[in-house]
């Protein structure tokens, strides 16, 4: 039996900003809606939470964070804060899918009826959604991706999911009308929570799934570049 790991989690991938701390027994979270103020809130929330549990960043075992998908700027703020903390305190990272964290949060909700299968979907703008379908058999197990995280038009998601057995839905992606055809119960106003990221992170940590800070980048999913490259008039440059 190994000692329980001390893990800090941070998520700034959406309009919300949340931090959580877990040492296996204690689990604390701070969650705020912080649209456009992540840089102002992330570190103060980290400092407050660590001070509340009487820990310093240098005493942690790892840092978990919402690696994406989500708002590009939000993901980079989270990644930047985590890079600074992890590099500074020489800690490994536990990147966690924001969609997986949302599915986990819904599956093991205290207030809603249980749901083992959850489709997390986030508005990706430009008429597309980020989505992933997760199986969450029990809270002590990392959810399994039935359909791994991707970005598509809502209609394409519906056609890929039409043969799947029942699931519930969470996230801003569910505001797109085509998803209604899936006939699932859903809640649009759901954000990734650091408390779910810290739980999943702790299981990843126990399974040896940490990564060196230099190896981790945000998961944007949308990588194709929509900016037009220059059309050259002259093929060769005058030198």
């Amino acid at each position: 039996m190994t000692l329980m790991a001390k893990i800090l989690a941070l998520d700034t991938s959406s309009d919300a900003c949340s931090v959580a701390y877990s040492d296996g027994e204690l689990l604390l979270e701070r969650f705020e809606l912080a649209a456009k103020s992540h840089t102002q809130r992330a570190l103060p929330m980290v400092a407050e939470l660590l001070s509340e549990v009487g820990e310093s960043v240098n005493n942690l075992d790892a840092i978990a964070f919402g690696a994406g998908p989500g708002s590009f700027t939000g993901l980079r703020i989270g990644m930047g804060v985590v890079q600074g903390l992890a590099f500074g305190a020489d800690l490994p990272l536990l990147p966690v899918s924001t969609l997986m964290a949302m599915a986990y949060g819904r599956a093991f909700s205290d207030t809603l009826p249980p749901s083992q299968r959850v489709l997390s979907a986030l508005d990706a703008r430009m008429g597309e959604i980020y989505w992933g379908l997760y199986d969450c058999p029990n809270p002590a197990q990392i959810p399994t991706a039935i359909h791994p995280d991707r970005v598509t038009a809502p209609l394409a998601a519906v056609s890929l999911l039409s043969q799947e057995s029942a699931f519930t839905g969470v996230g801003s992606g569910w505001q797109y009308e085509p998803l209604a055809a899936l006939g699932a119960d859903f809640d649009v106003d759901v954000y990734p929570h650091a408390q779910d990221i810290v739980r999943i992170g702790a299981m990843q940590f126990a399974a040896g799934g940490t990564m060196a800070v230099d190896q981790v980048q945000p998961v944007y999913l949308r990588n194709e570049v929509s900016w037009k490259k220059r059309q050259r008039v002259r093929s060769a440059q005058p030198q």
Binding site: R76, G80, F87, P218, W227, R230, V233, Q237
Partner: protein
């Protein structure tokens, strides 16, 4: 005091380690120019993504080059503005969080203050007070500098920045981004006097600039001489580049001389990307020599964006006791003359 400096305001990731007594110990730069050249300008999303990839390897590199460990660093300086908001957030988030983990103070530095103080990294730094000409892709300003944080704006561009004008002229001639060095290289082969472009606003009193009329004039000249592919022949392109560069340089020189005369000062520093322009340096030295004034500038690599200038400027402010709270603020627009003055002068 040993300070780590981080610059990510645009398309270069710059890191440096500066010691207030021992000077600059290390600096490293990753330039994204090749990434953005394909697009003819900086693509903010690509710039931000690249900063995230490059910042930690560069921090490791400068710490190792400076032969220091984390425990030796006494403070962190990061560029807090002006610049691209997404790019600024990367350096600011990493810098502030790193300072928190290391339990040292952090300070957000004004990018143009960094440029303005870059000549201080040279062996013969200018003494205060002086006039500074800040010329880059985003700025064209004349500033009276009496000390760190004691800045009085004397004049600025009412439209395009000088560096931006270079970029646009380069695009008209199908040259790569950033335009300054490409225009300068082409201009060397240009025939002096074939074209004479207007010197904007030199006939008016005051120290403001305007480059949009010159841009239009250049565009019209290019169109007038265009051949089947839409461009003038190579010699005519070179002649246009020459006339354009001469017009920008001579406008800047006239205003600098005027600023020195208006303030009664005898020292001018030039800073920012355009201050690397050879013709500008030569003509300023010649013109200001005649009125007994001196010109100072940074080495070429510190004219464009770099971490050394941020580490230097931040070190001055940290040494004077300034620091930021854990709430990180970046300021995409940030007037230089709103900075707090330092009482203690270096």
């Amino acid at each position: 005091m040993l300070v780590l400096g981080i610059e990510t305001s645009c398309d270069e990731t710059g890191l440096a380690v500066y010691h207030t007594e021992r000077g600059l110990l290390a600096h490293a730069l990753y330039s994204q120019v090749a990434v953005h050249a394909e697009y003819g300008g900086v693509v903010p999303e690509l710039a931000s993504r690249d900063h995230v990839r490059k910042i930690l390897p560069l921090i490791r590199e400068v710490l190792s080059e400076a032969h220091c460990s984390a425990a030796d660093i006494d403070g962190i300086a990061y560029t807090a503005g002006p610049g691209l908001v997404g790019a600024l957030m990367v350096g600011a988030s990493v810098g502030r969080a790193l300072a928190f983990a290391w339990d040292v103070p952090a300070v957000g530095v004004h990018h143009m203050e960094g440029h303005l103080l870059a000549p201080m990294l040279e062996d013969t730094p200018p003494e205060f007070p002086f006039v500074a000409l800040l010329v880059s892709g985003g700025h064209t300003q004349l500033v009276k500098v009496e000390g760190i944080g004691r800045y009085q704006l004397l004049g600025e561009s009412l439209d395009d920045a000088a560096g931006e004008a270079f970029d646009k002229a380069a695009k008209m001639l199908d040259l790569d981004y950033p335009g300054g060095p490409h225009i300068a290289r082409l201009a060397e082969r240009g025939t002096p006097g074939r074209f004479t472009f207007p010197r904007p606003m030199v006939d008016r009193p005051g120290l403001d600039f305007s480059f949009s009329g010159l841009k239009t004039y250049t565009l019209n000249t290019v169109a007038e001489h265009a051949e089947a592919d839409g461009l003038p022949d190579e010699q005519t392109s070179a002649d246009i580049a020459r006339a354009f560069e001469e017009a920008v340089v001579s406008t800047l020189v006239i205003k600098c001389r005027r600023a020195l005369e208006a303030t009664g000062l005898k020292r001018l520093i030039i800073a920012g990307g355009v201050s690397a322009n050879t013709r500008l340096r030569a003509e300023l030295e010649s013109a200001l020599g005649k009125i007994g004034a001196e010109v100072f500038y940074a080495r070429h690599e510190f004219c464009t964006d770099n971490g050394a200038m941020i580490a230097y400027a931040g070190a001055q402010r940290l040494a004077a006791g300034q620091s930021e709270s854990l709430a990180v603020n970046v300021r995409p627009r940030w007037p230089l003359d709103t900075l707090p003055a330092l009482d203690a002068q270096p």
